[in-house]
Amino acid sequence: MSDKQADTPTVSKLSDQQLLDARARLPQHVVHRSFVSETVVLNLRTGKYHGLNPTAGRMLDALEAASTVGDAVPVLVSEYGLGREQIQSDLLALTRGLLERGLIVTADDNGD
């Protein structure tokens, strides 16, 4: 686990709806670059690299662009042609995983 361990209890307590209403963004110490086969997310504080498959990488892009996590869902539904429930479930799982690893923060957390 990375430098955001202190946030973990908060993340785990967030309900799905609270998470969908939250805005997710990358803290300043996290950068990512997209490759054909995957997206590499780098935590500059810990020096740890994380690999995301292309779908997770696209979800990260959508999270960054959307006002809230929930707003990213219809964008991804239209891109992947899957059911809203499936996309939302996958997006919430990814969002929790990224939050727990300190690779994204919610808007009310400066993360730095």
Binding site: H29, V31, R33, F35, V36, S37, V40, L44, G47
Partner: protein, 330 residues
């Protein structure tokens, strides 16, 4: 770039002015390093790095530390430690290599203080092999663990695990008309989205059995021959190429099949990260640059997988690689 005033001051001290890995260098006249460039205008980092011989200062600076150094790298052969790098502010990076000595590199990479092992007449080879790539990484270049040859005005790099045949293929490409950039490490500079390759030390080391298969003309093409202390044949090229644009990257991989070349549309970024030379420098600036260079390499479209059988004839392999150059070099 080096200024005229600095050049004059260096000349007054008898310093040797060279370039390697994108760095301009001022070298103590008592230190002899083979295969470095002379074209100071080609350096990417300013001011020059100063390579000097220690007169007790290293121990003084390292011994004065008030914080425990952090071990950032170790290289072992079996149970024997061959090389280590420790970092501590404000002294910098202390590189130690068994039978070669120590080099203390300042945190900004500008000062390299050398404490040689007096029993090893070849001690200075550790400077080109390890200390300068580390200094170049500190100073803003990304060093790839690769052999490099300039072909048709572009850099052709060969990366792969130890023993994969990087030097053999590089030697074959030189015999086919190329110019050696480096045997083991090439510095890359990301400039306006393009990758520029800077020469390291143009000293090539070949296994004796491989060297014995070469013709006299083949050996002559490689440069001035000397025997290295580890039993390999060492060739120092006559000239060091100026920095050139990257034209191709071959990732060597052992295979049971005949040589196969495959242009890589999707490349594993972690394979490229693992091919970067130096993992001791973990500053945020360096980590981000490392990722940027890897992303540029992956998107350049010049990466190829070259699967080779152990023992395959290097001349044949070079011909196969060259046959793909129209693809690799736009």
């Amino acid at each position: 770039m080096t200024t005229a005033t600095e050049n004059q001051a260096g000349a007054d001290r008898g310093e040797d002015h060279r370039t390697a890995f994108g760095l301009a260098l001022r070298i103590d006249p008592r230190i002899s390093i083979r295969g470095l460039g002379r074209s100071l205008q080609s350096a990417a980092a300013d001011p020059p790095s100063h390579v000097r011989l220690d007169d007790g200062e290293l121990q003084q600076r390292w011994g004065a530390l008030t914080t425990a150094p952090q071990r950032t790298r170790e290289l072992h052969f079996g149970d024997t430690l061959l090389l280590s790098v420790d970092f501590a502010e404000p002294a910098g990076y202390l590189l130690w290599a068994r039978d070669f000595g120590r080099v203390l590199i300042s945190p900004d990479g500008v000062d390299l203080l050398c404490e040689p092992d007096p029993a090893n007449a070849d001690w200075a080879s550790i400077i080109a092999a390890q200390a300068l790539p580390l200094a170049a990484t500190i100073r803003g270049l990304e060093v790839l663990h690769a052999s490099g040859v300039v072909m048709d005005g572009r850099a052709l790099l060969i990366a792969g695990p130890p023993g994969a045949g990087k030097s053999s293929l590089a030697a074959a490409l030189v015999r086919a008309g190329g110019q050696l950039l480096s045997d083991d490490a090439v510095a890359l500079q990301l400039s306006d989205g393009a990758l520029i390759a800077h020469a390291g030390s143009v000293v090539l080391q070949l296994r004796s059995d491989e060297d014995e298969r070469l013709s006299a003309d083949g050996r002559a093409a490689l440069g001035q021959a000397t025997q290295s202390p580890i039993g390999k044949q060492r060739y120092t090229a006559a000239d060091v190429p100026d920095p050139v644009a990257l034209g191709g990257l071959f990732l060597l991989e052992r295979s049971a099949e005949s040589p196969i070349v495959e242009q890589l549309s999707a490349i594993n970024p972690f394979e490229l990260i693992a091919s970067t030379f130096n993992l001791s420098v973990r500053t945020p600036t360096r980590l981000q640059r490392q990722l940027d260079v890897v992303a540029a390499l992956a998107s350049s479209g010049v990466a190829h997988r070259l699967r080779v059988q152990p023992g395959v004839d290097a001349t044949q392999l070079a011909a196969i690689a060259l046959a793909h150059l129209p693809v690799a070099i736009p």
